[in-house]
Amino acid sequence: MASTIVVGYDGSDSAQRAVDFAVRIAKAQGKSLVIAHVLEWSPYSFLTPDEIEERHKRRAEELNRAETALLNPLVSSLAGSGVEITTALKYGHIAETLVKVARDVEASHVVIGRTGHSMLESRLFGSVAGTLAQAAPAPVTIVP
């Protein structure tokens, strides 16, 4: 029986509400929590020679920043919640990567915050919530 909840976190207020919501359910249902942060990245974008040379260094810096500025403070703020918490820090397309994380941990539930983009923006570029609702391997809760 699957017993993990995946929650997407990007540091925004709605993401914080999503985490709070996910912690409440996890606690009530006795499930563990995976907090996932995805750094937007496409292997098909174009880089200059300089960027290519420095990419490895930048990547290490980006990972470090996400770890220390976003994930670590969140995890320590939830230390007293009594829920078992792990983190996942990945590069890629945000919705696709969240789906992949959910699949990897056999999540029973996916929780994300709402980005609050306008209708036009979502229609043009698609929204993480919309894509996730269609593609996720488990029920998705979108927290306003």
């Binding site: 974008s45 174009f46 020679p49 490895h56 260094k57 990547r59 990945k90």
Partner: protein
Amino acid sequence: MTSIAKAAGLAVAGSVLSAAPALAQSIDDKVNQIFANSTGWFVSFIFSPFPGTSFPWIVMWLVVAATVFSIYFGFVQFRTFGHAIKLVKGDYSDPNDAGEVSHFQALATALSGTVGLGNIAGVAVAVGIGGPGATFWMILAGLLGMASKFTECTLGVKYRNEFSDGHVSGGPMYYMTKGFAERGLPGGKILAVMFSIFCILGSLGGGNMFQANQAHAQITNVVGDYPGWITGVVFAGIVFAVIVGGLKSIAKVTEKIVPFMGVLYVLTAVVILLLNANMIGWAFGQIFAGAFTGLGVAGGMVGALIQGFKRAAFSNEAGVGSAAIAHSAVRTKEPITEGFVSLLEPFIDTVVICTMTALVIIITGQLMVDPETGLYMVTEGGSIQTVDGNSGVALTSAAFSASFGWFKYILALAVILFAFSTMISWSYYGLKAWTYLFGEGETKELIFKVIFCLFVIIGAAASLGPVIDFSDAAIFAMAVVNIFALYFLMPVVKGELHSYLDRLKSGKIKKYT
């Protein structure tokens, strides 16, 4: 005109400000003269033909090397072509390495350094002099050149320097020193220094002044004549903002537009070919017939062969060593994978894009045929008579415009952008050679970058023929040193190749998708 300017130059030698244009003219002349006198021997040596022929030995040097590498690696360019495409698609990329430079990104960046004037102007020159048959030899040289790229790029990654802060420096100068030392061979350091000097000169010349010069020529073609230094200052300003100011946004825009332009160019060519689909068979007939008979071009079959080989080498830079610098910064556990990916470069550059240009020129009937003999009509200068008397970029432009009149504006824009992206790439190659000679450090690097920007202005402003001849010669001198080193280091690549292919077969190398 020049003699008047010269006289004026002498007359005002004492009062600089009163006759600046004339002085500039006399400075041009002086620079020309000094350069011609001191470097002429070097230029004639690099481009000298075999005795009794008009075949430059440097072209033979590149083609022989490409053939040797093709045979030595068992025609790796055909055996691993499919695998190379899978690598670029990311089938073998570990998802945990996401965020590192992908094979696709390395290939796209290296391509934007090579796709450029060679594909547009160079091909027109080849077909304009060597006839349709030159296309056959160009494709052959492109296919063989894939093996040279494979060899140099594998070595470039294998022997690169990784610094403690995570950035990397690689290229021929590093495999020359480290590779030669590893194999117990002497002279690596000397080769590396020679290569670096030629690379710096080549980056300032063919990779900079020539590009600025041609970009200015294209702009004046569209908007009318105006002084070249204006183009030079604008270009230098943009290049400065990118390479010194670290203004990534401009470079990013170029890096995005250049592949788009390349795709648009090929698609337009395909549409033109489809509109004339009934003539494609005839065009290939001309290419094959011309390859072995010449169909009346100057020099016959050999004339077609020289032009085809020469322009392919000028266009895809296989064996020159520049690609080894471009690819070496990629993060990969297997150096050979970068070699596989790089062999797609001459294929895309020469076999696809150059061939498209040639086919469009042939099919749109730009080359005049004598209706009675079926042979091409040759002018006194030795080139084939074209409908409007065009050659170079203008010939390509006329061929594309024959179907789509608006295309000449897109082509002009493409040439300018290609020139710009080639400059950015070569500024990087030159800088790597510079830091190899003088060491890494902000001030040292800044000195080179400022010099580079100054040469943009010189290149656009002046018609410094001998200077440009010399810098072209320097790019090919890079190939002399580089290929010499490749011959000694190719067993290293063979070891890597066998090891990798064995592991691929046994399933030790995992596919992720």
